[in-house]
C-alpha cells in the first residue's frame, strides 16, 4: 500500500498472476518491505494485536452464530445450549465474550499510545479519525453483542442505551420506537441487533483496511515523534516488526487465556445469567466495563438531553484532537508539561470508569461531575493552551541519533 513495488515473484504461476493482479507486490510492499521506524517500542505492537483480536472475534462469532437462535424465547436457552451441549461451545463462547474485553483493552492502550506520542498530528489526522470511527463501530458492535444472550443485563442495557435517543426533543419518541420495532425492547429488537452485530465487524474490517492504508501512506509515528530521514532510521517490516508483533501477540494471548479459562465471568455481570425479565429491572444496571467512563459522564449531568450530548461529545471530541492540540512537537517525551497532563488524563479516565460502576448518588455524582468537567477541559482548554505556553525539550536530529543517545 505504500509506494511502488519492485517485487518480482520467482514462481512462474505467481509471475503470471502478478502481471494481471499485483497482489503479491501489494502484500510485499505493505507487510514485508514496508519501512518501520527502528525505534518503535512495544506500545506499537497493539495495532497488530488489534487485527488479531478482530480475527478472533469474527471467527468465534461466525461459529457461535451457527448455534445461536435470535428469538426472545430461545436466545438465553440457545446460549446455554452452546455452553452445555455444543462441542467446545463453552470455549468458543468464553473466547468471544472475553475477546470483546480484550479487544477493548488493546484499543485503549492503542489510543492512549497515540495520545502520548502525538500520533494524531499532521500528517496523520485522517489516520487518527479513521481510528476514532473504528472505535465508535467497536462500541456499537460490543453493545449489540451484549444484548444477544438475552439475560437481565442484555435486556436492560438495551433498554437504557436505546433510550439515549429519546432525549432528542420531538423526534425522540418515534425514533426509539423505530429502533425497537415495537413499544419496548422485544423480539424485533433482538432480531435486528443480531443482524447488525453480524454486519458491523465486517464494516470494522473495511475501515481497518483504510486505517492501514492511511498508515502506510504517511508512515508510522515513533517514540521520538520525528520523521525518518534516512535508511538508517528504519527497518523493514518483515522480519523486524512481524516478529516483535508476534511475540507481543503471544504475550497478549497469555493474558487473554487467563481470563477466558480461569475467570471467564469476571468481566461480565452475574445478572446476565438471569433470563431477561421485562417486568423487573436489576438493582444496579451497569454497562460492560469498557463503556463505564462514558456512562459516568452521562450520569454526571442532571439534564437528560445534555447528559446524552455530553456522552456522545466525549467520544466525538477525539476526532478533533489533531486540531485541539496546538503543539508543534509530537512526542510527550519532549513535552514535559504535556506528559504530566497526559497521566492526569489517564487517571481521570480510570476514575470515571470506576465511578460508572458505582451508584449515581451523593459524593459519587459530585466527583463524576468534577472529572467530567476535567475530561472536556483537557481537550478544550489544556491542550490548546499547552501548545502555546509549553517549553519543549530539543528534538533529536534523527531517529538513529535518538536511539544511540538512549543507549549511551
Amino acid at each position: 500500500m505504500s509506494g511502488h513495488s519492485t517485487y518480482q515473484p520467482q514462481n512462474p504461476v505467481l509471475q503470471w498472476l502478478e502481471k494481471r493482479l499485483p497482489i503479491g507486490g501489494l502484500i510485499h510492499s505493505s507487510f514485508v518491505a514496508y519501512p518501520t521506524p527502528r525505534n518503535l517500542n512495544y506500545w506499537w505492537t497493539f495495532g497488530g494485536i488489534l487485527s488479531f483480536m478482530l480475527g478472533v472475534q469474527i471467527i468465534t462469532g461466525i461459529v457461535l452464530a451457527m448455534h445461536y437462535t435470535p428469538h426472545v424465547d430461545l436466545a438465553f436457552k440457545s446460549v446455554e445450549g452452546i455452553m452445555r451441549d455444543v462441542n467446545y461451545g463453552w470455549l468458543l463462547r468464553y473466547l468471544h465474550s472475553n475477546g470483546a474485553s480484550m479487544f477493548f483493552i488493546a484499543v485503549y492502550i492503542h489510543i492512549f499510545r497515540g495520545m502520548y506520542y502525538g500520533s494524531y498530528k499532521e500528517p496523520r489526522e485522517v489516520l487518527w479519525i479513521l481510528g476514532v470511527i473504528i472505535y465508535l463501530l467497536m462500541m456499537a458492535t460490543g453493545f449489540l453483542g451484549y444484548t444477544l444472550p438475552w439475560g437481565q443485563m442484555s435486556f436492560w442495557g438495551a433498554t437504557v442505551i436505546t433510550n439515549f435517543f429519546s432525549a432528542f426533543p420531538g423526534i425522540g419518541e418515534p425514533l426509539v420506537t423505530w429502533l425497537w420495532g415495537g413499544y419496548a425492547v422485544g423480539n424485533p429488537t433482538l432480531n435486528r441487533f443480531y443482524s447488525l452485530h453480524y454486519l458491523l465487524p465486517f464494516v470494522i474490517a473495511g475501515v481497518v483496511v483504510l486505517h492501514v492504508w492511511a498508515l502506510h501512506v504517511v508512515g508510522q509515528n515513533n517514540p521520538a515523534g520525528i520523521e525518518p530521514k534516512s535508511d538508517k532510521d528504519s527497518v523493514p517490516f518483515t522480519p523486524y516488526a512481524t516478529v516483535k508483533d508476534g511475540f507481543m501477540m503471544v504475550c497478549f494471548c497469555l493474558f487473554f487465556a487467563w481470563f477466558a479459562f480461569y475467570i471467564p465471568n469476571y468481566l461480565g455481570h452475574a445478572d446476565n445469567y438471569i433470563p431477561a425479565n421485562p417486568a423487573v429491572t436489576p438493582a444496579h444496571i451497569v454497562p460492560e466495563w469498557y463503556y463505564l467512563p462514558f456512562y459516568a459522564i452521562l450520569r454526571a449531568i442532571p439534564d437528560k438531553l445534555l447528559g446524552v450530548l455530553a456522552l456522545f461529545g466525549s467520544i466525538i471530541i477525539l476526532a478533533f484532537l489533531p486540531w485541539l492540540d496546538t503543539s508543534k512537537v509530537r512526542s510527550a517525551r519532549y513535552r514535559p508539561l504535556y506528559r504530566q497532563f497526559f497521566w492526569v488524563f489517564v487517571v481521570v479516565c480510570v476514575l470515571l470508569g470506576w465511578l460508572g460502576a458505582k451508584p449515581a448518588e451523593g459524593i459519587y455524582t459530585l466527583i463524576a461531575q468534577v472529572l467530567t468537567a476535567y475530561y472536556f477541559a483537557h481537550f478544550i482548554i489544556i491542550l490548546p493552551l499547552l501548545g502555546i505556553f509549553e517549553k519543549t525539550k530539543p528534538l533529536p536530529n534523527s531517529i538513529s541519533e535518538s536511539v544511540l543517545s538512549a543507549k549511551a
Binding site: 527497518v235 475467570i263 452475574a270 445469567y273 504530566q340 459524593i363
Partner: protein
C-alpha cells in the same frame, strides 16, 4: 514522579471517602467458604455434588425449576459421577409431559435425554403459587448471584482467580435466616435473612437440620446442606468447568513455551540492528 503522586493521592482519597459515603444497606458480606473446585486446579467433589443433588431433589425441586439441565448431564464427565444406569433409573422416576401417537397429552417415564421437569406448569403459575414471585430457575443460579467485592479486592480477584461469589452467597443465604430485629418492618410474606439485599426474602427458610438423609455419613446440618447445594448449583451452571480448567492449563503451558521461543527469535532477529 508527579504522576505517581497524583495517582496515589486521588486513589487513596477516593477509596477512603467512598465506603463512608456510599449508602450502606447493612448487608454483611457472605463469609468465604473453602471450595474444592476453586483455583486453577480445582475439581468438583463427586460425593458433595451427589449430596447436593439429593438436597435439590428432595427440597429445592418442589418450587424451583432447573429446566436447562438434563438427566444425562448427571452422568457426564466432570460432574457428580452417576453411572448411565443410575441416571436412566433416576429419569424413569420422573413423569414427563408428552404427546402420544394420537396427539393426546400423556405423561411418560423420563429418559436420560429429558430435562428436569418444572414443578409448575408455567412461570405465571409458579408466581401465583409463590406469593407473586416466581422461584428462580436453578440452571444458572450458580453463577447468577454475586456481591460487591469492593476495592482493592476486585483487582486482587484477577490474580487469585476468586470466582466463587455465587456459592459463597448461596451458602450464606441458606444459613442466614434469623428473627427480624425489632425495628425492622418485615413486609407481609417476607422472611428475614441477614445476607439477602434488603433482608426481606420471599422464600421461607428452606432447610432444617436432619431434613435430608445422607448415606455417606456427612453431617446432616443446614450448614452442610447449604454447602452441598451451592456446590451442586455451581456444577449445574458450569458443567464443563473441569474441562475448562484442564484445557486452560494446557493452553497456558503452550503459550509460555511459544512466548519464550518468540522472545529469543525476536532477540536474534533484532541483534543485527541493536
Amino acid at each position: 514522579m508527579m504522576k505517581r503522586t497524583i495517582l496515589a493521592l486521588t486513589f487513596a482519597g477516593l477509596m477512603a471517602a467512598a465506603p463512608a459515603m456510599a449508602q450502606d444497606h447493612g448487608t454483611p458480606q457472605p463469609p468465604r467458604q473453602k471450595w474444592s473446585f476453586s483455583g486453577p486446579f480445582g475439581k468438583f467433589d463427586e460425593a458433595q455434588l451427589q449430596r447436593g443433588f439429593k438436597v435439590y431433589k428432595e427440597v429445592c425441586a418442589s418450587c424451583h425449576s432447573m429446566e436447562m439441565v438434563a438427566f444425562r448431564n448427571l452422568a457426564e464427565a466432570g460432574g457428580p459421577g452417576f453411572s448411565e444406569a443410575q441416571v436412566a433409573a433416576l429419569a424413569a422416576e420422573y413423569k414427563i409431559k408428552d404427546l402420544d401417537d394420537k396427539g393426546e397429552a400423556i405423561e411418560r417415564p423420563g429418559r436420560s435425554a429429558d430435562y428436569f421437569p418444572s414443578p409448575f406448569a408455567n412461570p405465571k403459575a409458579a408466581a401465583a403459587a409463590n406469593g407473586g414471585t416466581m422461584p428462580p430457575d436453578m440452571s444458572t443460579l450458580g453463577k447468577a448471584r454475586t456481591y460487591e467485592r469492593g476495592f482493592p479486592w476486585f483487582l486482587i480477584d484477577i490474580v487469585t482467580q476468586y470466582q466463587e461469589q455465587a456459592p459463597d452467597y448461596i451458602t450464606a443465604l441458606m444459613t442466614g435466616y434469623e428473627d427480624a430485629p425489632k425495628d425492622f418492618a418485615l413486609p407481609p410474606g417476607g422472611n428475614y435473612n441477614k445476607y439477602f439485599p434488603g433482608h426481606a426474602i420471599a422464600m421461607p427458610k428452606p432447610l432444617s437440620d436432619g431434613q435430608v438423609t445422607y448415606d455417606d455419613g456427612s453431617p446432616q446440618t443446614v450448614e452442610q446442606y447449604a454447602k452441598d447445594i451451592s456446590a451442586f448449583l455451581v456444577w449445574a451452571a458450569e458443567p464443563h468447568m473441569l474441562a475448562r480448567k484442564r484445557v486452560g492449563f494446557q493452553v497456558m503451558i503452550f503459550l509460555l513455551v511459544l512466548a519464550g521461543l518468540m522472545y529469543f527469535t525476536k532477540k536474534k532477529v533484532w541483534s543485527a540492528v541493536h
